[in-house]
Assembly symmetry: C2
Homo-oligomer: 412 residues x 2
């Protein structure tokens, strides 16, 4: 199986403020073709380091992909350095120049002269058309190595890869197919999930299994290689089927959907509606539910009631109950869920109350204490959880627990 390396070019990627994210997308695409990524390098608009890095890459990897540095300014050094490293002089391609000039003209603009350099191509390199910008990409067969230079902006890079690079790599990748599958798990920690499924997945070298803890949930990634997609899928079916059985209802997603997407799908299928009443999550549960396109079909309304008086006025939580049990209590969480359900006329109501911190905790009710509750037509239920981490993490974990309780209680 051939492997690749990726070089991201751009000084902004060496600041504390920006990550290279192109390589994540490219890695997923390459993996799907059975091509592993064995090294990623990030260099600035820095000829010395790019030259050094490119020479090393061509020596070590049969596929080298660069992103960035193809634009019209002095800072854009990729063409120049590729030309030097591959010892191919830059040649002006009249056809490319016409095309770039037309792209400017079609937007009613006059091309400034510095754009001409985008029509320079190393000798015997094939340019890649850029449908969404002016900088063309490059493909060069350099000995045993395929060097591919792509533009940095994702909206230009991605379609160029999909339409013009992937077909070339498919031929190259040849007979090994790589298929992946992902399960998402809620309500179990990483080590709990692992202890349930390690006896299963450790029996398989292919597919491989990776367990990631992704902010609020456990992700299980499975990767199989085989001579055909069908055979790789059969390997995945066998392993993933056993894992799904071991984890039962803790698995909420089998095709990469988020928890809020799954809830949206189940609400739609059942013809249910939902409404939310939040305290410590401050609108995050509503925000996640309404992240889903089309959620206006089932999401009726949400209330963020920080003040006790608002809990009473907006949700009908009795003031005496708050006085007696405290705003952070199982009883108030359930009353919030039942209150928003009744007032919105929704099938399901969600209530969340807790202490996200950093202040407001006591010995009896520490920071991280959260009650989530759900109310249906016949049953109202709650869960008490004590969450680790900072304010942001507590709020995220609380929103996840609330959505997961709704899923388990009414939407399986």
């Amino acid at each position: 199986m051939p492997h690749a390396e990726i070089i991201a070019i751009g000084s902004e990627l060496l600041t504390p403020f920006r990550s290279d994210t192109n390589s994540l997308w490219l890695t997923a695409e390459l993996n799907a073709l059975g091509i592993a990524v064995r090294r990623k390098t990030i260099v600035g608009d820095d000829e010395l380091f790019l030259e050094e890095t490119l020479r090393d890459a061509l020596r070590n990897s049969p596929i080298v992909i660069t992103t960035g540095g193809l634009g019209p300014t002095e800072d854009d050094i990729t063409r120049k350095v590729v030309s030097r490293v591959t010892q191919r002089p830059l040649v002006l391609q009249a056809e490319l120049l016409d095309r770039i000039r037309q792209q400017f003209a079609s937007r009613g603009l006059v091309m400034s002269p510095n754009n001409e350099r985008q029509a320079l191509v190393p000798r015997d390199a094939a340019p890649l058309r850029n449908e969404y910008g002016t900088a063309p990409g490059l493909v060069i067969q350099e000995g045993d190595c395929l060097l591919i230079a792509l533009p940095g902006p994702p909206r230009e890079m991605r379609p160029m890869f999909t339409a013009q690079v992937r077909p070339k790599l498919e031929t190259l990748a040849g007979s090994v197919r790589l298929r992946t599958r992902m399960l998402r798990v809620a309500g179990l920690g990483e080590s709990q999930a692992d202890s349930l499924i390690a006896p299963i997945y450790t029996r398989y070298a292919n597919p491989t299994t990776t367990i990631l803890f992704n902010n609020t949930e456990v992700e299980l990634h499975f990767t199989a290689t085989a001579p055909s997609d069908a055979e790789a899928d059969a390997l995945l079916d066998e392993l993933v089927g056993q894992v799904e059985e071991a984890l039962g209802a803790n698995v909420f997603s089998h095709r990469g959907e988020t928890l809020e997407q799954i809830i949206g799908l189940r609400l739609t299928v059942k013809g249910y509606t939902i409404a939310t009443a939040e305290s410590c999550t401050g609108g995050l549960v509503a925000k996640r539910l309404t992240d889903v396109p089309g959620s206006s079909q089932y999401f009726l309304e949400g209330v963020v009631a920080y003040a006790n008086e608002a809990k009473t006025r907006l949700l009908g939580v009795p003031a005496e109950l708050i006085a007696e049990r405290g705003a952070v209590s199982a009883e108030v969480a359930e009353a919030m869920a039942a209150g928003i359900k009744a007032r919105a006329g929704a099938t399901i109501g969600i209530g969340v109350t807790g202490i996200a911190g950093p202040d407001g905790g006591t010995d009896e009710k520490p920071v991280g204490l959260v009650y989530v509750a759900v109310a249906g037509d016949f049953v109202t239920t709650h869960r008490k959880i004590i969450l680790p981490g900072d304010r942001d993490r507590i709020r995220h974990l609380a929103s996840q627990a609330a959505l997961d309780l709704a899923r388990r209680s009414f939407l399986l």
Copy 2:
């Protein structure tokens, strides 16, 4: 000024699911010492590529920092490869071994034998204490190059760097100081901001200016180098002062604060309270306001009213107004803002209504059309905006516009 490169080690960092984020934190720390990062490399648990990468780095950079691969398992190859590349045999340090054994004992655990390898140190290397885990770090002076190996988990890596590595680098960085400043700008696009300030910053080679468009706002980064912090700060004062003047109220943050933090500060200073009424942003405005610790002091309540009936019942928006003007209209946005202000008894009410898509747009009211409104005691005002991008981006930009309108109208 010496420069550094960073090598992140770990196969999970070569998957589509994980980025190397340690290097962003390290870059900020190094930059503050006047050390630029000129290359970052990510390799897997892959001896061949790590060896190659490490050799190149030692040849090209006076400071090389690795993260990861120091743990107790077979996969953890950093010690072994460092030993090979620097031709220093690994020596078992009895003191380190005792310390690791004690760390296990203090948690009531017996150390498994594979942990012993964490006490192996290349000859003449100095170990770095790990206060938050068992894997020690390493410092090796290799010719002109300082090689520093740190553990991967941030909670172990960061304190180790701060307490034990930074003092060494301070000496090395010597006489050049580097200082940075950031301004955040709302209400202007990247090119609008640039056209206002390019005539200013292009006159300065030091400080350098970088303009980034960061999801919903423009960030301006300024970096000055000088023999002392005071001189670097003076250079920054001169340039940044002129930029602030040119941008006026469009600059909302001078010390890196988020828009919601700034609003929280201004609300607190003025003794104001705030409440939100949202449609298309679905709770995002409330979520952002309550992201701020202590926001319960000024955030009273929020309502997410998707259904028209909810806008009437929860916010008092007249049903006739919705029928006449449409739910997505300036009048309804203002009525939502005034309604939540009145019902919550807040100083300021925010209203947002719009079409986040992907469906629901018409020729007259396209996807991306959003009205944001704010209501105070004496004035209610709105802004009509047409936002680009997908649902997620439209919602983010709409929340930014709403918060920014509140800031400009009542919180300057």
